[in-house]
Amino acid sequence: MEQTRDSIKDIWGERTPYEGHWPVRVDELTEEAPDRWVQSACVLCSNGCGMDIGVKDGRIVGVRGRAVDAVNHGRLGPKGLQGWMANNSPDRLTRPLIRRNGKLEEASWDEAMDLIVRRSNDIISKKTSLGIGFYTSGQLFLEEYYTLAVLGKAGLGTPHMDGNTRLCTDTAAAALKVSFGSDGQPGSYTDLDTTEAILHVGHNIASQQTVLWTRILDRLAGENPPKLVVIDPRETFTAMKATVHLVPRVGTNVPIMNGLLNLIIQAGHINPDYIDAHTVGFEELKQLVSQWSPERVEAISGVPATKLREAARILGTAKTLVSTILQGVYQSMQATAAAVQVNNLHLIRGLIGHTGSGIYQMNGQPTAQNTRECGADGDLPGFRNWGNPEHIEQLARLWNVDSNIIPHWSPPTHAMQIWRYAEKGSINLLWISGTNPAVSLPQLERVRSILQQENLFVVVQDAFMTETAQYADVVLPAAIWGEKTGTFTNVDRTVHISHKAVDPPGEAKPDFEIFLDYARRMDFRDKDGAPLIKWKTPEECFEAWKECTRGRPCDYTGMSYAKLSEGSGIQWPCNEQYPDGKPHLYEDGVFNTSIDYCETYGHDLVTGAAATKEEYKAKDPKGKAFLKGADYEPPHEEPDEEFPLWLTTGRLVYHFHTRTKTGRSRQLNEAAPDAFVQVSDEDAARYGLKTGDLVEVASRRGKVVEPVLVGDIEPGLVFIPFHYGYWDDPGRKRAANELTLTEWDAVSKQPHYKYAAVRIRKI
């Protein structure tokens, strides 16, 4: 094996200190010398690093970072360098499987697809398409999501379509919509090259987006390093580098953010002209946060008032600021309300829409942005508003269908509700693509029992026999990254093309072709009797998608496969006005909030109630951003005598999602082979534990058995990584989600993985 560095030991690699222009460093790992390199980008986190796939004799043999790519300047992290090995894994699914007499047996594509079509039609004849639901992923390509969205919304007409993006990124979308009127990250990664300060809230960026963290490490090592404020209950790699690290009690993000805003307003560190010209709601926000003195914040969150003041001084005085937010906020109490407070911080300081200042309501998964844009989750394609009849008409014209078929009578069904309908027997066909809910959803005992229900027909489309696929009635073998062509968009709106490098194994097919095949067999038609879906290749689909985005915030009309293949990533919007893409949104302080353009009419941040068009009209901000706040609500489950500890869950640097791919790379697997429970020194002493001891961790919903890891965590809190399931170790209950709660944020509907009350017992 040839590699430029050992990324397992040296996660972020050698420093290249800088300010202004990030130097190139090309990371590469190959097993053999490739015959050719094929342009692609990494799909193992939302950073979207540009990479080339090395191919020899029709096999992937390695990867290298693309030096010209603005996202990574040649760098790759451990997952990017080693995750491709899963493509060559001998246990890939290569034939469709059908459950016969309780056992999954090989079948032909015709048999498998016919069975799905028969089931679909049977359900539709009894109860319309309301009996059919789709649960997709944040890891497919744009063309696949758009095809799925069109067949679901204009073919079947079911509102029941969501992605596992609901678990990782829907608060990002919700928070952007609340403040700015639509989804879309305002800034660019290049802002990190010059910014004076960085705020990470509930975002362990060092483990999540290792290459983005490398960029920050290089800034920290250079001239004029930015000040770093980290809000995280754990002593993560990220927190260790902080100028100020705030360690909040679980579920107290809103009090902390309210307290910071209060201090910044009190100190006069705001931009009154910007607030006046470009926002609405400042007086209400000021009134609300004024109740949060540092002392009151300290009493509730445990963060010392002096520390809060220090952080507020940095955040209030930096002339430029980049903020990032992730699961510590999104998967906790008051997720949307807390995430919105970070938007508010930028708005009241006027730090948005220019070089050096940006907000990243981060995405967890690599292509989550596309799930949202294309409407394969609970949104409509092109960030359209389900409450706006004109937006529905636009889609109906585009697809040449009657607008009645497009489900828009209420918000599209969110993932947790889809599962609930399946549990109650009103959804009878659940089609799961590219994700593994039997490990990733909360309260796994319940998920397993739903998957096994007699009245639920489960289709699983995946590359591997996942924990979920084992419960399927039909398994469809899918081609993955490297084996198909398509595009995807990272968290800073950069669109990459990923070309097919090798053939998929056996009879495996791209998800794109599987969805097209289903649409053809279901004979979905448009108003004039022509086939509903008019494209046959990913490129034709991309062209159709461009039309869908015309005039919308995520405008792709200036891109093409050729243009994407010439360079190395283009940011949307890309159109006649911005042929090379646009680094910053909202440069002119005009936001996407006008009544005809906005993606949503808004929600009550506490109850989640949807506002109507009439209500919105009364306060139409006509392009100003919303400043909205919420008061503190305590978590729904708190430690008590029976379950005295807080559990929180999270990720490890070497793995992605449920390890379906990263667990099949030998190096990544060996670097982090098993789950564990991390406990503080104090709790270890109290329970008589040392690193390596086995303990049982129990919540009201289930139990797991984990080895102990002592240290680097607050007393009273324990941590279990969420990646581990059962495909490679069915022997012991170890999935963190055996313990987690079935409940979710009122606005974004993202489940609360970040807290549960548990007890531990040495065994």
Binding site: L130, T413, R420, G425, S426, T607, G608, A609, E633, E743
Partner: protein
């Protein structure tokens, strides 16, 4: 003056609404959003009941002899079965409308009496009630098609 009569009606409506929100939360525990938000909304109504006390003292609550119309006929107990949740939300919505109307009526009287405190209280209460109604309506709209078309 009959204002006391109406304060009694408002007081009673909110007491019943508090109880009904709690019952629905308890009964539909398997719907986590219903459980949590109905518990929260119950505390809002309960707060109104408590804050009404000063006005009851001021205008000495007269107990109306009217039968307990809405709660008696609409909502005795949470239901079971396929359409149960939708019907329970439906009744909560009607009950919350009764409360909202009380705030409108009382606010009119408060203006006539130049009772600024009562007027302000009615405005605050009505805002809360409207938010309760908005939640119920959103949830009803979501549940309706699935319940009426696809449920067993």
């Amino acid at each position: 003056m009959h204002i006391g009569n109406y304060i009694a009606l408002a007081h009673h409506s909110e007491q019943e609404l508090t109880k009904a929100f709690r019952q629905v939360a308890e009964h539909h525990k398997d719907e986590p959003d219903i459980e949590q938000i109905c518990q929260l909304l119950a505390t809002w109504s309960e707060k109104h009941v408590n804050e009404l006390k000063t006005f009851i003292e001021r205008y000495s609550e007269e107990n109306s002899n009217e039968p307990e119309r809405l709660t008696q006929s609409l909502f005795e107990e949470p239901r079971s079965g396929g359409g149960a949740l939708l019907r329970d939300l439906h009744d909560l919505w009607l009950m919350a409308n009764e409360a909202e109307l009380c705030w409108i009526v009382l606010s009119q009287a408060a203006q006539g009496l130049h009772d600024k405190k009562l007027e302000a209280a009615c405005a605050r209460f009505r805002d809360d009630t409207k938010r309760q109604l908005a939640f119920l309506l959103t949830r009803i709209k979501v549940a309706a098609p699935q319940t009426l078309i696809a449920a067993d």
